[in-house]
Subunit: 459 residues, 2 copies
């Protein structure tokens, strides 16, 4: 963007403490652009830059910062600056901020809020984490069914100035129970004497206790940019807007990807995560995986005699067990994502099992043939590098691969479904986790196959 060319000049203005000149330049920038700028100045200058901004703009910029940057900035602000800032944030932005803070900082900040805002913040915070209640804003306009279009438009003119969205206006009865929705465009296009009841349409709705993932699915299904949220009595308590939902969708995908990579999900961006946290989030799973992988040592000890007799079997061990891990990781990834997108659920286990058995058998046969051919081809080209029993060894590798790939695929597909059924996150069945599981069982499958085929000859 053109504005990036201005960065050196901006930095100079900050260094020379030219606050009023800076304010003039920045007043034409959008809040998102200024938030980007704040990230590129040294930490110590951020609060100076923040204070140089016109107050309204400063508050908007704050809403665009990442949670950890918001917290850093908050530490630098005085109590009265914090109070003004908190009062100016929209309710859902305020909730997002407060729920990220350590408990004691939260209470210090809550103490700064005006009674009305305080009630709102406390109330929004009362819903479970990851629930729609945490995402919603109570910042909506409700119309009455008996009003005419003229009355409604007048009401909107008087009360609509600061609302987050006016594209869809909700209609409630006297007890605030949600009846339906009227689109702003319908109001504009209608005759002024029409009643709201005539223009009203049915609307999908969310419960405040629904999982945020539900908001993504419903919004996607009905192509709506805003959804109403009701409590257990059907009373309209808030709205959820598409921008929050888009954030949720991306965040859930990131969490799933990180878990599938075999680690705990980071809560914030890679760049903003300190190295110590990066290590902590990875060490837990790595250690657990290694402890399980120690079973491979136990399994191999069982077959130590066979290994001594036929060291040649060891040459193909990584090849054979990693193929099982790879096919298992494919299956686990497919099923985990399909579950997350609600394309399948637990009751589809039989369908999944049948499909994955067919896939596993086919893929196993392909890889098994490749393994067989590799050994025979090498023997043909380089002589008896794998000994006199090369044909039987090729057979062992081929048959072992079929068994291990079939087994890896089945485990990889069934484990996410099982975790899901038991109420755990299916993304826990990560590629490394499946690979570890299959390594242990793969060793057993491989050596048992070897003993069946080579028993009496090589073993």
């Amino acid at each position: 963007m053109l504005k990036e060319l201005l960065l050196p000049e901006i930095h100079e203005l900050i260094e020379q403490r030219e606050w009023s000149l800076l304010r003039d330049v920045l007043s034409t920038w959008s809040p998102a652009e200024i938030a980007d700028l704040m990230l590129s100045v040294p930490k110590a200058e951020r609060v100076l830059l923040y204070r140089a901004l016109p107050q309204d703009l400063a508050h908007e910029v704050f809403a665009y910062l990442e949670p950890d940057q918001q917290i850093n900035l908050l530490h630098e602000l005085t109590d009265s600056e914090s109070r003004e800032l908190l009062a100016a944030l929209s309710p859902d932005d305020r909730t997002a901020l407060l729920s990220e803070l350590p408990g004691d900082v939260t209470s210090r900040l809550l103490a700064l809020l005006e009674p009305d805002d305080l009630r709102e913040a406390r109330w929004l915070l009362g819903y479970p984490e990851e629930s729609v209640g945490r995402l919603m804003t109570p910042d909506f306009l409700a119309l009455e069914p008996g009003w005419t279009v003229a009355t409604a438009l007048e009401y909107i003119r008087q009360h609509g100035q600061d609302r987050e969205t006016l594209n869809r206006l909700y209609v409630c009865d006297k007890r605030q129970r949600l009846l339906g929705v009227v689109r702003l465009r319908a109001l504009i296009l209608a005759d002024p004497t029409t009643t709201i009841a005539e223009l009203m349409e049915e609307t999908p709705r969310l419960s405040a206790f629904d999982d945020q993932e539900t908001a993504v699915r419903v919004m996607e299904k009905f192509d709506l940019s805003v959804l109403p949220v009701v409590d257990s009595n059907g009373v309209l308590v808030g709205i959820v807007t598409f921008d929050d939902v888009l954030d949720v969708a991306e965040k859930e995908a990131t969490e799933d990807i990180q878990k599938l990579g075999g680690m705990e999900a980071l809560d914030i961006s890679y760049r903003a995560t300190p190295v110590s946290v990066l290590i902590r989030k990875r060490a837990g799973w790595l250690t657990a995986l290694m402890l399980s992988e120690m079973l491979t040592t136990t399994a191999l000890s069982v077959f130590e005699k066979q290994i001594e007799k036929a060291v040649v079997l060891v040459l193909f061990l990584p090849l054979v067990i990693s193929s099982g891990g790879n096919s298992g990781s494919q299956a686990a990834t497919l099923i985990t994502r399909a579950l997350a997108l609600q394309e399948i659920s637990f009751r589809d286990w039989w369908l999944v099992l049948r499909r994955e058995l067919v896939s596993g058998l086919t893929l196993g046969s392909i890889l098994g043939s490749l393994g067989f051919l590799r050994i025979e081809l090498w023997t043909l080209l380089f002589g008896p590098v794998y000994g006199d029993h090369h044909l039987l060894i090729a057979l062992t590798v081929g048959v072992g691969l079929i068994g291990i790939v079939l087994w890896g695929t089945t485990i990889g597909a069934m484990l996410p479904l099982l975790l899901y059924r038991l109420g755990f996150d299916p993304a826990t069945s990560s590629a490394p986790f499946i690979a570890t599981l299959v390594d242990v069982s793969g060793i057993i499958i491989y050596f048992v196959t070897a003993m069946l085929i080579l028993g009496g000859r090589l073993l």
Copy 2:
């Protein structure tokens, strides 16, 4: 939902061919709900159900079906039914449908379109795949800066009936170049004699040739539910709405997850993908990975003598190399996702490298200590199960683990950055791919460590 209770009755109505009764019942359902219903009836009945719906509703329902279901249904429709359907679809839905079809079916369908629609469809199809041009709809209203609010509202009343969104109205000069945006709510709240130029705000914009991923980032950054699309001359050519962008965001995440799982991305849902395609999308990568993994056999052959002398080293081989694969898979996943979310770019390689070297060394030391302790603990508990040189073997495993985890982490972090720099998809550096790479090099690191430590004694 309550409506699921009605399913058996609906099925009975279909079986008894009670079309008019069915039409009455379904006329109160939303298109999305009817689309769900269509999936639950046998294929042969879908076209009957489609024909039973009032025509407008039928067209809306069609837009809610998945691409492959749309194609199946299209095959069953007559030419005149297809023509009516295509004309009724919104331009972006029509483009999505046409670009999914095999070429010959596309031309048959294009031939059915009216000249005006045809021009629109052809024009939308001219943009590269995955570009914003394929996502946009030319279905917007443009205002002129000199108009008053009253004129603008009258214009909207006359022309706004069928537009996809009216929340943000774009302002263009005489040559259709985009000047800015006016929000519908601002029009409602303003005095009727105000001019559009006074209410106009700046707006972020997309180029029709931008990647669709850009639309996700811009929409996320500015919290907008609709964005204008301009050509190289700044002429407004279309708009992109949040529902299409949400689909793109989810689709990109799914593709990345599937690639990270070590397979080609599916284009449609797991459930809708035939088993033959499932196998094909997996077999390619599995085969490639196995062919690379064959290098482990070559590497092990080099060390065959050492293995014969010290079979005990083999017992820890899967443990050691899998730990390298696991730590590499964590790093690759982290960096790939951070690249996709544009949290980092290639020029951050030095930052990433420093952080991952620290992480790799720390994680390697943790796992190395665990490996060392495992061997000494077993020796303490069960006697000299790993021979007289158990301390040196424990040292080999410990030091080998540090080296291999450090190496895995570094490769896992750098490879996605390199792929990204070279213009490939970083998600190609999947967990299985990294594991395979690290397996081969891990064997070399492990045995070289063993020769250095055990040389002269056991080896």
